[in-house]
Point group: C2
Chain length 311, copies 2
């Protein structure tokens, strides 16, 4: 991986995404005893950073590939991101979703023009259904996190953040499938000044923490977390990047996630989803480590069901 690949990726996608604002808060700085810079990907198109990777992955396809469409399996933000990215580029998107996915998520995908294919709620059934579309329609499969073009796209949020604040000592992201933290780690390596990339991960889905410890990709034993965007697994493309460039992964409890989320809502007056709060929860948990340091925090998204809040 070379620096130029990230630079080219950013040039490629920049007209299709928002350059999201960076918010600061004196009160949050006092609470964390550090200078925090919140990169608001909750304000990104479709409400999450996933738009970046989705656009980049489609833009890397050839004209003839694009004509046949793209396919992914996701019940979360990547389903919406790929749908909207494809719509913006005039490409057909097939989205494999478990039949059990909430209606609100199905409606969002449809709203962005994605065609939903329902399957049994298992990983095997999802993969099989996506494979079928690849074969029958000739559509290009785009993985939500274990795809180098997706990873590079997600890394552009960190590029923007470091362009605004070049001397960050740390950048925290949540860790789910590994696309965001992988891309962030590459960006921090190429564009930061000794900037440490740290991950926040729920104890209830701590595959990344355990994978780094054991040196091989571990599975989630449970995924019983409110941070529904972080239930997914690391993959063989992003794991080596994370191993090489991520400083540390800090695990947090469900209670710590909810406290962090409520603080962001109440003090910053912005809506973030539980997954976003995981990165901030990791800072709060270890805050004696960062006294006076400059810390970037990637607020990954803001798609929540307002009728199901944890407070």
């Amino acid at each position: 991986m070379e620096k130029i690949e990230l630079i080219n990726c950013y040039k490629r996608i920049s007209s299709y995404i928002h350059r999201t604002p960076v918010l600061t808060s004196r009160m949050m700085n006092e609470i964390a005893n550090a200078d925090l810079y919140f990169k608001c990907e909750n304000f990104q198109k479709m409400g999450a950073f996933k738009m970046r990777g989705a656009i980049n992955a489609i833009l890397q396809l050839s004209e003839s590939e694009r004509e046949k469409g793209v396919v992914t399996h996701s019940s979360g933000n990547f389903a919406q991101a790929l749908s909207l990215a494809a719509q913006n580029l005039g490409v057909k998107a097939y989205i494999v979703m478990p039949s059990t996915a909430p209606q609100v998520k199905k409606d969002a995908v449809k709203g962005y023009g994605g065609e939903i294919l329902e399957c049994e709620p298992t990983v095997a059934a999802s993969e099989k259904a996506a494979k079928k579309i690849e074969i029958n329609k000739g559509a290009s499969f785009i993985h939500p996190s274990n795809d180098i073009d997706v990873i590079l796209g997600q890394g552009t949020a960190c590029m923007e953040l470091l362009e605004d604040y070049p001397d960050l000592d740390f950048i925290f992201t949540p860790v789910g499938g590994g696309g965001l933290i992988g891309g962030t780690a590459l960006s921090a390596h190429f564009f930061g000044r000794n900037c440490n990339v740290m991950g926040g991960e729920p104890f209830e889905a701590d595959d990344a923490y355990r994978s780094i410890k054991s040196g091989k990709i571990e599975s989630n034993k449970t995924t019983n977390t409110i941070a529904d965007g972080l239930k997914t697994q690391l993959g063989d493309i992003n794991f080596p990047i994370i191993q090489k460039y991520v400083t540390k992964i800090i695990r947090v409890t469900e209670g710590e996630i909810i406290i962090a989320m409520k603080l962001i809502w109440e003090r910053m007056k912005i809506i973030v989803e539980p997954s976003s709060a995981v990165a901030f929860a990791a800072i709060l948990k270890t805050k004696n480590m960062y006294s006076g340091k400059k810390i970037g925090v990637i607020l990954s998204g803001g798609n929540v069901d307002l009728s199901k809040l944890p407070f």
Copy 2:
């Protein structure tokens, strides 16, 4: 009132307040069929525009007046605003609050260093208690909305908005005690280019609508609205300004307020209080009037009790 007074007011307070961002949203523009510019006073210090007027009013006091402190009666955002403004300026703040005020609001005032004096939950009791402090402590009474220095301070949000977007056709604000819409109307008059100031007001507390109709200050018959910041009455200082400079007041139902609030939360990923949503609800209600126009919306504040949401 002269233009220079607003300019001087802004110079006086600008180092004590945030210049709040203006957000736009393609989806909200589509919904409203107009170009909307949301002035985010929910990101203002203490979470509402009231900080502007409170700072200005205290800064207009003499040194010897400041030494004796300030007093107001409020159970809402002005109580917090005057407390924080006073704290920032090293001035003592006495806040008369009804004994029935929620503990969370009392705690917020205490957190900003205000001294709370509880009274019976009637207007007469509040005024009497405030008068007592004026007499016994020599404190200067500052009315939450019917005070020209408060009105000018509140008008600076509109000044900033028009500096960013000089050619707005309309600016919408919620209407409560009349401080915000009064100040906004003055700013739009002096700094706008034929900019119409419009008010949104709940049917359940429609004193401003009826006062403009009758030509004299009317009382609220009911104040049974979710927009708790708008239960207050117009006063003799802001009413003539509103009569002279406000184009129209549009009344909205409680259901319309909740729909507007939910749209702002879900689409813009920001937290606004119900009072803020009243201005946007008024736009949605009359949206056939503004096709293709540029509309500023003052999102007045973001202080909500997350455990008591209407959705």
